[in-house]
């Protein structure tokens, strides 16, 4: 008598599922994929929040970045191994930050002697140098989001 398993085998396709191969690749790349996923979620939430205000969409983001909508779609699926350049570009366009370097942001530079009257110019502010400079002053800068449809600095 033919068992249910034998009958099932007769119905089986010759091709095996692509799952194991795909899962092995996902597991091997899990460290950067997790970061990519987290950044993708932030981008998607930001687009959703900004859309009623300035019409932000994946397509608008792609145009502002000078890349194809297909590329942005890959980014927002969380499957792209993003470069720092790409992340920075998206941060500027959306006017928000997605990554920060732990430790560096709170580090202090001691005994910096500025030249007389010297100041550090940034596009949105001037920060006077003091004897002790907290680097957080530099790293906490966020490009300003402009609701009128312009982005960045």
């Amino acid at each position: 008598m033919t068992s249910a398993l034998d009958k099932l085998k007769q119905l089986e396709s010759k091709e095996t599922s692509s799952w194991l191969e795909e899962a092995t690749v996902r597991q091997a790349n899990k460290a950067w994929r997790r970061l990519s996923f987290q950044i993708a979620v932030r981008i998607l939430r930001e687009i959703r929040m900004q859309n009623p205000v300035n019409g932000m969409t994946q397509k608008v983001l792609a145009e502002a970045m000078g890349v194809s909508p297909q590329y942005v779609n890959k980014v927002v699926k969380g499957k792209e191994n993003l470069t720092l350049e790409t992340i920075s570009k998206i941060e500027v366009i959306l006017g928000t930050r997605f990554i920060e370097i732990i430790g560096v942001a709170s580090a202090k530079v001691e005994n910096v002697e500025p030249a007389s009257g010297e100041s550090v110019c940034r596009r949105d502010a001037q920060v006077s140098l003091k004897k002790t400079i907290q680097l957080t002053e530099y790293f906490e800068y966020e490009p300003e989001y402009q609701p009128n449809g312009t982005y960045g600095y």
Binding site: K7, E12, S17, L20
Partner: protein
């Protein structure tokens, strides 16, 4: 529809003619797709605060789903490399009869640290032989309450009929979920 082997002799999945991939491969890709999860939880956000699960916002729901899918996938990868005997007993630990585990979710749901709402649905053909029919993010107590989970019940029924038509004894087919 087609029946596609996943790994070993005992785990198979359905590939529907309107999908590019079989259900097992499709689900794990979907559950790690930020765009899909953001849209899904935004659409179902009322279910996140309905009291069935601990109150949770959309962002956390997306990230927890990713975590759970990753852990679940890792567990299955480990299982795939085991001997035939190991795979058999492993599958029986993963899958539970559909209606029993629905009851279990009610009593355990709130005490779980992670929101374990990922479900894989399967028909058990005989002891240790499972055919995956689909899966869902189940946010409500019963599958009938939402269109996407109700659809999974319909698909299970369609696959059951397909198998019966192809000579599998209907008495040996049971519904299971992970």
């Amino acid at each position: 529809m087609e029946i596609v082997p996943i790994f070993g002799e005992y785990l198979k999945a359905i590939k529907y003619p309107y999908e590019e991939k079989d259900e097992f491969a499709r689900l794990f890709e979907l559950w790690q797709d930020a765009e899909y999860l953001e849209e899904f939880f935004e659409f179902h956000k009322a279910d996140l605060t309905s009291g069935f699960w601990d109150d949770i916002d959309v962002n956390s729901a997306i990230l927890e789903t990713y975590d759970y899918a990753e852990i679940f996938e890792q567990r299955l990868c480990e299982l795939s490399s085991q001997s035939s005997k190991g795979v058999k007993s492993g599958l029986d630990k993963i899958f539970k009869p559909l209606h029993d585990s629905q009851t279990q979710v009610i009593s355990l749901g709130k005490s779980k640290a992670k929101q374990n709402w990922l479900r894989i649905y399967a028909l058990r053909i005989e002891s240790n032989v499972y055919v995956i029919t689909g899966g869902a993010i189940k946010l409500t107590r019963t599958m009938q309450e939402r269109e996407h989970t109700n659809r999974e019940l319909e698909r299970m029924e369609a696959v059951r009929n397909f198998l019966i038509q192809h000579g599998i004894d209907s008495n040996t087919i049971e519904s299971f979920e992970s």
